[in-house]
């Protein structure tokens, strides 16, 4: 399949395509029309047809899309066929929420190690991970190929930890620190609670 340049808006919709198709797949649905898929996703049928045309030829006029084929294509486009590794920095409340509840494997990621600076938690088990001291991070990143660093540290150490991750060669940073970090060429994806609530505040005020 040829990869064309995909717009940022479609990239943001890809995970929603995947979730909708994965749900249909798990329910043993064989085919789905663009309007059915649109209903599931809250998007118009013509939007669906337009998006999917960016990924290649999937639909058959009047027959809809083969769920298994389309799901697999979206998995491939998203790079989900190869599991990616992550490490998590900061075993505070939010770090623990991710450790205990987030389905890394379902999303084609593995969580390979967790780090903290607090001597009280270092060496302790949290879920199935033994917390490592952050001074071990550099060596860990040298010995293991880690794709993504997850930042659940306090704001004050966000940039320092980013620098260590970038130096250690991660390709992406999943940033929960509610602050902007500079990571050079490394891609940063932010989960920013305040920005999200402020946006909601704006939308309900207008």
């Amino acid at each position: 399949m040829k990869k064309r340049k995909i717009s940022n808006v479609i990239i943001r919709r890809l995970p929603r395509y995947y979730r909708a198709l994965d749900l249909l797949y798990r329910n043993n649905t064989e085919r789905v029309s663009s309007s059915e898929l649109g209903n599931l996703m809250g998007v118009t049928a013509s939007q669906i047809r337009q998006d999917l045309s960016c990924f290649g030829e999937f639909g058959q006029q009047g027959y809809g899309y083969r769920v298994d084929h389309l799901r697999l294509a979206v998995r491939r486009i998203m790079g989900m066929e190869k599991q990616k590794s992550t490490v998590l920095l900061g075993v505070g409340n939010l770090g623990r929420v991710l450790l205990m509840n987030f389905p890394f494997e379902e999303n084609a990621f593995s969580l390979d190690a967790v780090f903290d600076t607090d001597p009280v938690v270092i060496g302790k088990k949290v879920g199935r991970w033994t917390v490592r001291g952050v001074e071990e991070l550099e060596a860990f990143l040298m010995e293991n190929s880690v794709d993504v660093g997850i930042l659940t540290v306090p704001k004050a150490s966000a940039q320092e930890m980013t620098d260590s991750l970038v130096k250690g060669g991660v390709r992406g940073i999943w940033n929960f620190t509610n602050t902007e970090v500079s990571a050079g060429e490394t891609i940063v994806e932010n989960i920013h609670f305040s920005d999200s609530l402020l946006t909601l505040g704006y939308l309900i005020s207008t």
Copy 2:
């Protein structure tokens, strides 16, 4: 100030403008040029000038922007001059992270009540809130004007809780359930961890 139609992309940048300006304001900075503000936000100076022109006339050629004026203007545009009230449903791990750590007041929101279905936590204090049973939600929403419902319940009860919030007249739902909810005219803002990580996975795969 006349409100013009503001594009979705700019709406998503508004909170970042606010954070950058608020930081400058707290540091007693009087003026900022579009290139300085751009550097802070990782956006070009011409993008800044273009965005701000949507909100009205602020800059003075060669003098930059008055930080206090611009900060206040962004606060007004975002509807932050009036504090909004929220209730939180679901005092699990993620709910507790928000209760204990999220700066509602800084973002011009108040958290007025928290609800759960678990008899073990109902009546108990979490932070400064006493957890209420979810059966009290309807009456609470009738007696109090609540702007936003925060959903940190399990996926399985996401739609039912959404229905209760919509029926109770909230104007917005801040949805952490990692699932899509139907809320009619009520505005839903999603914090979707999986979609975010999948997007990052895509971006580092290409």
